[in-house]
């Protein structure tokens, strides 16, 4: 409490100190009395003003009444004149004028009634006036009707009756009475006003004198009260300390006063520190020097003063200029100051340096400006208190046009609801929410155009109450993209519908999200019954496995896979019936995750035909087998009776030859011959049927060995004919060795048997036909075969020669054909008559051998 002098304190503070030289009670009373007197004086002055204005009001009122009365009289005269005009000329234009006169008359009556509503006398007069107007109109209408129906004379006669004249006269008289009444009132009121003003003047003079007297007395009292001065000084210092402490508390604020034009009147140390000007440099300068250049150009300083004057107060967060030209973000409050009479005295400006006061504030601001989205901060009243550059750009407003604006002028709908909804959440929830998941609203630019936005709000508790930070993202582009997606989806749907197979699109939860008409038909469900349902409803088993398997593959693999190679599953219709399907899946990345398109083909028909085919093949196999069995059994069992015939005819011939007549001997000879031929046929048939029935497995076989065995078997024939059988080197092949031997034996045997006169030459070769086959050739220089018999010679029991020329049943080549076929090939012949024949047949290369 040492009372440090207050060097650079504001002037207001110093004045307050000087005006209280003593702390004496009498002084307090004196000043209170002086103040009271001044108040009374002020009230009186105000009252006198009221009286004066009241008096002028009455004058105006009286004038208005009398002018309305005059207008009414004019309208009445005009109605009268128009009536006459019509009666005399019959011209309808008079009637138009007449009607407007009538309506004027009624209108002025209403006005007069309204403005004299405080005067009962005048109201009584008005009733008479209303009656007269009604009469006048009635009479005039009667005359007008008369003029129309009975002509000029009758109407003129009616005019002359004096009835109309009487009404007009009465009308004039009553108006005159009202004029007089109003004038009387005016005189009375003016007199009262003058008297009151006179009284007020007296009161003012007396009051002022009294005030001066009391002040003088108080001044004398104060001088006399010197002993109490020290105590008062201590009290003053005490209060000064408190004030200084208060100022220290507001260290962060530049506090200054402006006059009505914006000139700086006072300056504090914080102002000097924040803005960089000394008090002597800045006092008297206009506060516009604190504004950036572009704001000055826009007339912003003047605008701020106007707003503050009109609203009493203006707050903004905006950029300000220091003395050194650097800019800083500031929160500024302007408050309009008025003197006791309400006259503007100036403004107080409190500036807080946002960039300096808090490091985090600066970071926050930096963050705000750097954000890719438009960011606005809104206070509890819904006013925008902070914006970033993006917000300015997006909405097309200048920063300080946005500041203080209600948020619903840029986000017309939904923001308040969002605010409530978000306000209910905890800050953690709000922070956890991604901007991408914000709801979609419509925003409005300064030029009135609208655009879609996504908005995310996050509440922020501050000293100024709850502030809400809104991140606003322009999603026009994304919306367009979504629209595009919808179009794509429509195209996709079109494709789906055009597909011949049932198509179902399933999301990663296994739910059906899309299907085509074919799918509805195939499964017997309506579309809405299947949408959202699990795939297992229509494909009970195997689909999830398929899904997993297919997901593991790349999209290319999936696309490469043909529908025909899809796996087979069982599908179930709505009615519970099942049918076989083939399914092919293909993954499709979409904004909603991976969708899987399943192409489903009902393969009932194919399965049936497959089954039928299988059945046919089995049947054929069975019938073939039966046939072979039949041929074998038949030839085998035929042997028994044949043996009886052959044996007993032989016995017969032996015992009775020459003992019966010559015919009997011939008959017995035919029977014996038939029996032995029959025997050959059956044996050959048996051999033929054995090719299929008794065939061995095909194994690695040396074809050279087989040929050697065949020539050994044919040794008798070869030696007998002197035939030359030669061969090239022959390969190993897949064959049944016995059958291959028989094949060579039959072919070489035939070549010897059907030889010409020259020495039979037979040559066997083998050449690679392709990677899997050897082509064997057996060439001879025999009789040759005419080309028309090339096919026929391979038939069972087909012969080209008479029995007398060559024996044999004609089974040899049939057996060859069957053997080659059993080895997977076809035998063919090329031949020229009298030159020789070449038989060709393929055999399979042994595996591991080329």
């Amino acid at each position: 409490m040492t009372g440090v002098p207050s060097g650079a304190d504001n002037a207001g503070g110093r004045e307050a100190v000087k005006s209280a030289p003593t702390s004496g009670r009498s002084v307090q009373i004196a000043f209170a009395s002086a103040f009271a007197i001044l108040l009374i004086t002020g009230a009186l002055a105000y009252h006198s003003m009221g009286v004066s204005s009241q008096s002028s009001h009455w004058v105006e009122h009286s004038y208005e009444v009398s002018s309305s009365l005059d207008n009414m009289m004019l309208a009445m005269t005009s109605v009268d004149a128009d009536t006459r005009g019509f009666v005399l000329t019959g011209d309808e234009t008079y009637l138009d004028s007449w009607r407007s006169g009538v309506s004027d008359l009624e209108r002025y009556a209403v006005i007069v009634r309204r403005i004299t509503s405080d005067n009962p006398n005048q109201q009584t007069h008005l009733q008479t006036i209303d009656r007269l107007i009604a009469e006048r109109i009635h009479v005039a209408e009667g005359i007008i009707a008369l003029r129309r129906t009975q002509g000029l004379d009758a109407a003129a006669q009616a005019l002359r009756t004096g009835e109309t004249q009487r009404i007009v006269t009465d009308f004039q008289q009553i108006l005159q009475t009202m004029h007089t009444e109003e004038a009387g009132l005016l005189v009375g009121r003016t007199t009262i006003a003058k008297w009151r003003l006179r009284q007020t003047k007296i009161a003012l003079i007396v009051g002022t004198a009294l005030g001066l007297l009391i002040t003088a007395v108080a001044g004398v009292g104060a001088v006399r009260n010197g002993t109490k001065r020290r105590a008062a000084e201590a009290a003053r210092r005490d209060s000064e300390d408190q004030y200084r402490t208060l100022l220290d508390e507001v260290h962060d604020y530049a506090i200054l006063m402006l006059d009505v034009t914006g000139r700086v009147m006072t300056w504090n140390s914080s102002a000097a520190r924040i803005k960089g000007y000394d008090a002597e440099q800045i006092i008297g300068e206009n506060f516009s020097c604190f504004f950036p250049h572009e704001d000055i150009e826009r007339g912003r300083p003047e605008e701020i003063l106007r707003i503050a004057r009109e609203n009493g107060r203006h707050e903004e967060q905006s950029m300000r200029l220091r003395k050194d030209g650097s800019q800083f973000a500031a929160s500024i409050t302007y408050t309009a100051l008025k003197d006791a009479t309400g006259k503007p005295r100036g403004f107080s400006e409190i500036t807080r340096d946002l960039s300096e006061t808090k490091e985090s504030g600066a970071k926050f601001r930096g963050l705000l400006e750097a954000a890719p989205d438009a960011m606005i901060v809104v206070n509890e009243r819904g006013e925008i208190v902070l914006v970033n550059l993006q917000a300015e750009k997006q909405f097309g407003y200048h920063r300080d046009e946005l500041l203080g604006k209600m948020v619903n002028s840029i986000v017309p709908r939904g923001f308040a609801e969002r605010l409530v909804a978000d306000g209910l959440r905890s800050a953690e929830d709000a922070l956890a929410q991604q901007i991408g998941t914000g709801i979609e609203l419509t925003a409005k630019r300064k030029d009135g155009s609208e655009f879609p936005i996504e908005i995310m709000l996050s509440p922020l508790r501050s000293t100024e109450g709850v502030l809400v930070t809104a991140a606003i993202r322009d999603i026009s582009v994304r919306k367009d993209a979504e629209k595009h997606m919808v179009q794509m989806e429509n195209k996709y749907r079109g494709l789906l519908e055009a597909a011949p197979d049932a198509m179902v699109v399933v999301n990663d939860a296994g739910k059906i999200v899309l299907l085509n008409l074919q799918a509805e038909t195939a499964f017997g469900y309506r579309r809405d019954e299947l949408l959202g349902q699990g795939m297992s409803n229509i494909v009970p088993a195997g689909f999830p496995e398929r899904l997993v398997a297919d997901s593991l593959r790349s999209a290319e693999d999936a696309l490469a896979q043909q529908i025909g190679t899809g796996i087979e599953l069982t599908a179930r219709r709505k009615d519970g019936s099942e049918f076989p399907i083939e399914m092919m899946l293909s993954p499709l990345a979409s904004p909603d995750g991976v969708l899987v398109t399943a192409a489903i083909r009902d393969i009932t028909a194919r399965k049936r035909s497959e089954a039928q085919l299988l059945e046919k093949v089995e049947e054929l196999n069975r019938s073939n087998e039966e046939l072979q069995q039949f041929a074998y059994i038949a030839s085998h069992d035929l042997q028994e009776p044949l043996r009886m015939v052959a044996s007993y005819t032989a016995l017969l011939a032996r015992r009775y030859k020459g003992k019966l007549d010559s015919d009997a001997d011939d008959f017995i000879a035919f029977a014996v011959d038939g029996a032995s031929r029959m025997q050959l046929l059956i044996q050959d048939l048996l051999a033929y049927s054995r090719v299929g029935l008794k065939g061995k497995e095909l194994v690695h076989t040396s074809s050279e060995d087989a040929l050697r065995q065949a020539t050994r078997n044919l040794r008798g024939a070869i030696e007998g004919s002197g035939a030359l059988v030669t061969h090239d080197q022959l390969p190993s092949v897949m064959a049944d060795e016995m059958q291959l031997t028989q094949l060579f034996q039959n072919l070489v045997g035939n070549a010897i048997k059907y030889r010409r006169a020259e020495v039979p030459r037979i040559h066997i070769t083998a050449e690679p036909n392709d990677a899997y086959k050897w082509m064997f050739s057996v060439r001879d220089n025999g009789l040759g075969i005419e080309s028309q018999y090339f096919e026929r010679i391979f038939g069972v029991f087909q012969r080209l020669h008479k029995r007398e020329e060559f024996d044999g049943t004609g089974i040899g080549l049939a057996i060859c054909k069957k053997i080659v076929e059993r080895h997977g090939g076809t035998i063919s012949v090329e031949s020229i008559l009298d030159e020789g024949s070449t038989f060709r047949f393929p055999l399979t290369v042994c595996s591991g051998q080329s």
Binding site: H636, M644, S647, Y648, A650, S676
Partner: protein, 144 residues
């Protein structure tokens, strides 16, 4: 001394042919006949009405017989401790491998296929006589 041979054969034509050729081959053969397997077993076991039937020195057995076929007769004889020493010659029309294999598995002593031609059949029967009824030594079993 008469040689008792049992022919098990259902075909009368074959019976006659075999009888004729055997008689031409060896006059001392006494041929007994069974038309099916059941008769054959009854003869061998001297069941009624064959109580006095002799024990044959050779059985000529056809495979395809009514009631009880040749394979069953073969199996039954070779399973019988007293009868199993009698040689059995299978004489049949079948030349199926399965029949041949099966017969030897059942311990047939010889498998012959009847030739179609009369001369061949006569040759075959003569060779049976020459071998089985002439050259072969058989165990001496008292003919009870």
């Amino acid at each position: 001394m008469l040689l008792d041979v049992l022919l098990v054969e259902d075909n009368p034509g074959d019976v006659r042919l075999t009888r004729e050729t055997l008689r031409d081959a060896n006059k001392s053969i006494r041929l007994h006949l069974a038309a099916d397997g059941v008769e054959a077993m009854a003869f061998l076991r001297r069941e009624s009405p064959n109580a006095l039937a002799p024990r044959p020195v050779l059985i000529l057995l056809d495979l395809n017989l009514p009631k009880m076929d040749g394979r069953e007769v073969l199996a039954a004889v070779k399973a019988d401790i007293d009868l199993k020493t009698i040689p059995i010659v299978i004489l049949t029309t079948s030349d199926a491998d399965s029949d041949i294999t099966r017969s030897y598995q059942l311990q047939a002593n010889c498998y012959l296929t009847k030739p179609v031609r009369l001369e061949e059949f006569e040759t075959l029967v003569q060779s049976v006589n020459d071998f089985w009824l002439t050259k072969v030594k058989l165990p001496n079993v008292p003919n009870t």
